[in-house]
Amino acid sequence: MACRRCSRVWPMGQARCDRCGSKLVSRDTRSLQKVWAWWIAGVIAYIPANIYPMLVTNTLVYRSENTIVGGAVEVAHHGAYGVAAIILIASVLIPVGKFLAIAFLAITAQRGTSVTPRARTHLFEIVEFIGRWSMIDVFVVAILSSLVQLSVVASIRPGPAALTFAISVICTMLSAQSFDSRLIWDAVSRQQPRKTP
C-alpha cells in the first residue's frame, strides 16, 4: 500500500503514513461519491454564473451589465480577438470541458471503457493542472473593480456572477482532487494480471 502524498510504501493495514502523516487508504471507496457531490455543486453554481452579470460598468453616458459571454463578445467587437479568446477559453470552454472530463473519468472508473488507462491518466492530469486557470475571470473582475473607480466618469462594480463563478471553480477543483486516480488502473489489473518485465 503506497502513500499518495510521499509515495512511501507501507504494509497493508497501516492507518497513517509515518513519513508524512497523511492518512493511508488502499482505495478511497467514497472517492466517487465525493467527486459527484462536488461535481453537482460545481454545475449548479455554474448556471447562475452565466445568467447574472459579472461586471456592472457605469460611465457618464451609459450603464452596462456584462455576463461572461457578453463581455467576451464586447471585447471582440473592440478588435481584441486574442483577449476575447482567452476569456472564452478560460471561463466557458475549460469549465464545461472539466465538467465533461470529470464525469467521463468517474463513469468509466466504474463501468470500464475502451479508452486506455494511460490516456485517461493524462486527461486527469490535464484536468488537475488546468482547473485553477478558470479563476482568471474572477481576478479580472477584482482588478477592474478596484482600478476603475473614477467617480462619475467611469466605475466598475462586480456582479453576483463573480461569486457563483468562483464557487463553481472551487467545487470542480475539489471534485478533481477527490478523484482517486488509482481507480483508473484497477480495472486493468482486474482484467489481466500485471505483466512482469
Partner: protein, 217 residues
C-alpha cells in the same frame, strides 16, 4: 523520453523501505536513484517519481527567499494606475483583493487575497522551515513533516501566476476607457511568477521526504 525507468517488482522481493509506489496508479518499484538531472518515471502512467537536481536545496532556498521578498513588496506598491478625463486612480494588490467589499462579496475578497498573497506567502515560509535545516545538515525542526505536507497540499491553491495573466486581460479591457499604466508592483509580480515556476520545477518531493526520514532515524 523517459531515462532511467524503474524496474517493476513484486512487493516481497525487496525491503519495503526501498520501495516506491506511484501515487497515480499504485504501481510498485524498487528505488534506484537516477543521475542528477535525470528523472525516474513510472512505466505505467508516466508520472515523474524522482527528479533530483544538483544543489537543489540551496537554489530553492535562494529562490524562495526572493519570492517572499517580492510577495511582500508587491503587496504595498501600486500595481496599475489609470487616468481618464482628469480623474486618476492607482491600485495595489491589496486593493484588488479587497474590492468585493459589499455584503456577501466579502467571501470572494478573502478568497482572492488568500489565493494571490497569503497562500503563496505561507508556502514560502513552510518551504524555508523544512529546507533550511535539511540543507545545513541539521536535524529537521519539529513538525517539519507536517509543514512540508501542508505546503504540498496548498500548491494548487496558490494562484499568483493566474492573477498575473488576469492583469493582462484587465488591461486590454479598460484601455479604450482610460489611459492605463503599470506600477512597480506589476513587474515584481511578473518576476515572481517566473520564480515560482522555476522553484516548483526544482523541488523533488521524494528527495525531501527521504531526507526528512533519514534525519529523524
Amino acid at each position: 523520453m523517459s531515462p532511467d525507468q524503474l524496474e517493476h517488482t513484486t512487493p516481497d522481493a525487496a525491503a519495503i523501505k526501498d520501495l516506491i509506489g506511484c501515487p497515480h496508479c499504485d504501481a510498485l518499484y524498487v528505488v534506484r536513484l537516477p543521475e542528477h538531472g535525470g528523472r525516474a518515471v513510472c512505466t505505467h502512467c508516466h508520472t515523474v517519481l524522482i527528479a533530483p537536481r544538483k544543489k537543489a536545496g540551496k537554489k530553492m532556498i535562494a529562490l524562495t527567499l526572493t519570492v517572499m521578498i517580492l510577495v511582500i513588496a508587491a503587496m504595498f506598491f501600486p500595481f496599475i494606475d489609470i487616468n481618464a478625463s482628469g480623474f486618476g486612480n492607482s491600485t495595489s494588490i491589496l486593493d484588488a483583493a479587497s474590492s468585493f467589499r459589499s455584503g456577501y462579496m466579502v467571501f470572494l475578497s478573502v478568497l482572492v487575497a488568500a489565493a494571490i498573497l497569503f497562500v503563496p506567502l505561507l508556502r514560502t515560509i513552510l518551504t524555508l522551515y523544512v529546507l533550511v535545516p535539511v540543507v545545513r545538515d541539521r536535524p529537521p525542526l519539529p513538525h517539519a513533516r507536517r509543514a512540508f505536507r501542508w505546503s504540498q497540499e496548498l500548491k494548487p491553491w496558490a494562484m499568483a501566476e493566474i492573477f498575473a495573466i488576469g492583469c493582462a486581460v484587465a488591461l486590454v479591457k479598460v484601455q479604450d476607457l482610460a489611459h492605463v499604466g503599470l506600477g512597480p508592483a506589476f513587474w515584481m509580480f511578473a518576476a515572481l511568477v517566473v520564480l515560482v515556476l522555476i522553484n516548483d520545477n526544482f523541488l523533488c518531493t521524494w528527495s525531501v521526504w527521504k531526507s526528512l526520514e533519514l534525519e529523524e532515524d
